[in-house]
């Protein structure tokens, strides 16, 4: 099943990270695509942007941000949006994503992906802002489900329902982070399978996969390791519903050699090939 905008299945990619620049620039390795952290390239005219310019000549890229603050109650940062739009044009980004979260209030930025209360007022608030951002960017914003470590008393619906309604009301895409689904399911005690089964399949334009850490009392989304088998199982389940969707492996702490990250990412092939071999179209949403 293609997503409703016809955004392409870019295949299997990894994040473009500084430690891998020398390898990439000398080897130009085989890889389907790169995800680019928007904020790392928005405010530099130096080497990072120079590298990105070369990368986009050889690979498709998508932008992924952490500072949009779509759930913030402060006004949207127009200067940020201008720079984001310019970077998206410069990098010919397939799409632009960020997170369903808030990052700060009263002019401050915690630089964290803080959870939203999952209630009607928050849904209305985020819906209006997603529409504003999509209008400004002249493309549908894509939002990722974050890992979360707390739930608000005021929450009145599960996260998958919030996301599904948001996607419909604001006409946005979804970046389904399967590891985040798993982490949050353990931290909050919900059924991860129910989550991926309820996400509107034709809204999913990208997957994230990553490793996490078990802290005993909770799981912590660290992007520092191989993904757990439970996460791969969840990914396979989701792919059966959405069909082949661009898939990205995130490794941001203790980043190993380029080939190690790519090898981990390529574990996604199994689920993708199983879907292709089944020769069935994905279930309707």
């Amino acid at each position: 099943m293609a997503n409703r905008w016809g955004l392409p299945d870019l295949g299997i990619g990894i994040g473009l990270r500084t430690v891998h620049f020398p390898h990439i620039l000398t080897e130009w390795p085989q890889l389907d695509w790169f995800e680019v952290l928007s904020e790392n390239f928005m405010d530099t005219g130096g080497r990072p942007l120079h590298v990105l310019d070369q990368v986009v000549e050889r690979y498709p890229v998508a932008l992924h941000g952490v500072s949009l603050g779509i759930g913030n109650t402060d006004p949207l940062d127009r200067e940020y949006l201008k720079k984001l739009k310019a970077l998206a044009a410069r990098s010919r980004a397939a799409w632009v994503s960020d997170h369903l979260c808030w990052t700060g209030v009263a002019g401050r930025n915690t630089h964290d992906l803080l959870p939203m209360p999952l209630d009607e007022p928050a849904l209305r608030h985020v819906t209006a802002r997603v529409r504003e951002v999509s209008d400004f960017l002249e493309r549908p914003l894509v939002l990722e489900n974050p890992s979360s470590y707390l739930e608000f008393v005021s929450s009145s619906m599960p996260e998958w329902e919030f996301l599904a309604r948001l996607a419909e009301d604001a006409d946005c895409g979804l970046l389904l982070d399967v590891n985040n689904v798993y982490v949050s399911s353990v931290n909050h005690g919900f059924d991860a399978n129910a989550y991926v089964d309820a996400i509107p399949a034709d809204r999913v334009v990208q997957y994230h996969l990553a490793g996490h850490l078990n802290k005993g009392s909770h799981l912590l989304d660290t992007h520092s390791d191989h993904a757990r088998p439970e996460v791969w199982d969840l990914y396979a389940r989701a792919v059966k519903r959405t069909g082949l969707v661009a898939t990205l492996y995130e490794w941001d702490e203790d980043i190993p050699a380029f080939d190690v990250v790519v090898a981990e990412a390529h574990k996604a092939r199994a689920a993708r090939e199983a879907f292709a071999a089944a020769g069935t179209s994905a279930a309707p949403r």
Binding site: D43, R108, H111, D112, D119
Partner: protein
């Protein structure tokens, strides 16, 4: 139902509080944790908030350490962590990018922020590292080419005003902070720490072909380059240099200028 902005202001106050979670909650009495946060089977509302609160200073410290590795090395891990907490309490991030978080750290140190010994030395080192970061990220502006320089008639140079590239910073410090960066970068973990005694240090930091360079300048060279960057014509700047006490020979002054031009420090030459 708690209004969203009120909830966010309360939660931000808690997660950015530098103390223990109990102190953080006590300092944010607008809400009680139980009013806003559900418990999990394993964690209380306060413990769930503490996960976010615990990550905040680590994230800030990591960002500052990335921009100030030499300073972090000089003061040591524990002192740098304490410095980062004290600094962020005064200068929290107000930008979408963490690259700007440490902009005020040199001045914070110079005013004694963090309570560390030798604040002027630390501030000088931070000033140099901030300049390196700024130059690293500055806009790429093409330098004057040899052909463009050669096209200027010799008699016209006296009136010439040089425009510097964006990726350039001129510094005047009271300590030889560059020695410290040289030492810790030269030999990895095996390096020997230089003695950092009070000694004036003048440097130019610039970028060429996406690599950042740092060069020590003699006092008259620094003054000449400062005049050029301030918009004085080459003739005025050279005249001023020759009027200063212990002025170098004119050939040295013009030699420095040629060296800077060939290093790509100037982006344009104009004749007002």
């Amino acid at each position: 139902m708690i209004e969203l902005s009120r909830l966010q202001q309360w939660m931000q106050a808690v997660v950015t509080h530098p103390g223990e979670i109990g102190d953080a909650l006590a300092a944010a009495p607008a809400l009680r944790a139980e009013q806003a946060i559900r418990p999990s089977p394993t964690l209380s509302p306060a413990e769930r908030l503490a996960i976010y609160q615990g990550m905040y200073p680590l994230r800030m410290e990591e960002a500052l350490r990335s921009d100030y590795p030499g300073l972090a090395h000089l003061v040591g891990d524990d002192a740098f962590a304490a410095l980062a907490r004290a600094y962020v309490a005064t200068w929290p991030s107000r930008s979408y990018t963490l690259n700007r978080l440490g902009d005020n750290l040199p001045e914070f140190l110079r005013q004694g922020g963090g309570g560390l010994r030798r604040p002027d030395l630390l501030a000088d080192l931070a000033t140099l590292e901030r300049a390196v970061s700024e130059v690293f990220d500055a806009e790429e502006t093409p330098s004057l080419t040899e052909a463009e320089i050669a096209a200027v008639a010799p008699e016209a140079w006296a009136e010439a005003v040089l425009e510097p590239i964006a990726a350039l910073r001129l510094l005047e410090l009271r300590y030889p902070a560059g020695l410290w960066l040289d030492a810790i970068r030269a030999e990895g973990d095996e390096h020997r720490h230089p003695k950092l005694s009070r000694r004036d240090s003048r440097l130019v930091v610039y970028r060429r072909n996406y690599a950042v360079y740092r060069e020590d300048l003699e006092k008259p060279a620094h003054a000449l380059l400062a005049d050029l960057l301030a918009g004085r014509s080459l003739g005025e700047a050279l005249e001023a240099a020759l009027d200063r006490p212990r002025a170098p020979q004119p050939e040295r002054l013009t030699g420095w200028f040629r060296q800077w031009a060939s290093a790509g420090l100037f982006r344009a030459v104009r004749f007002p």
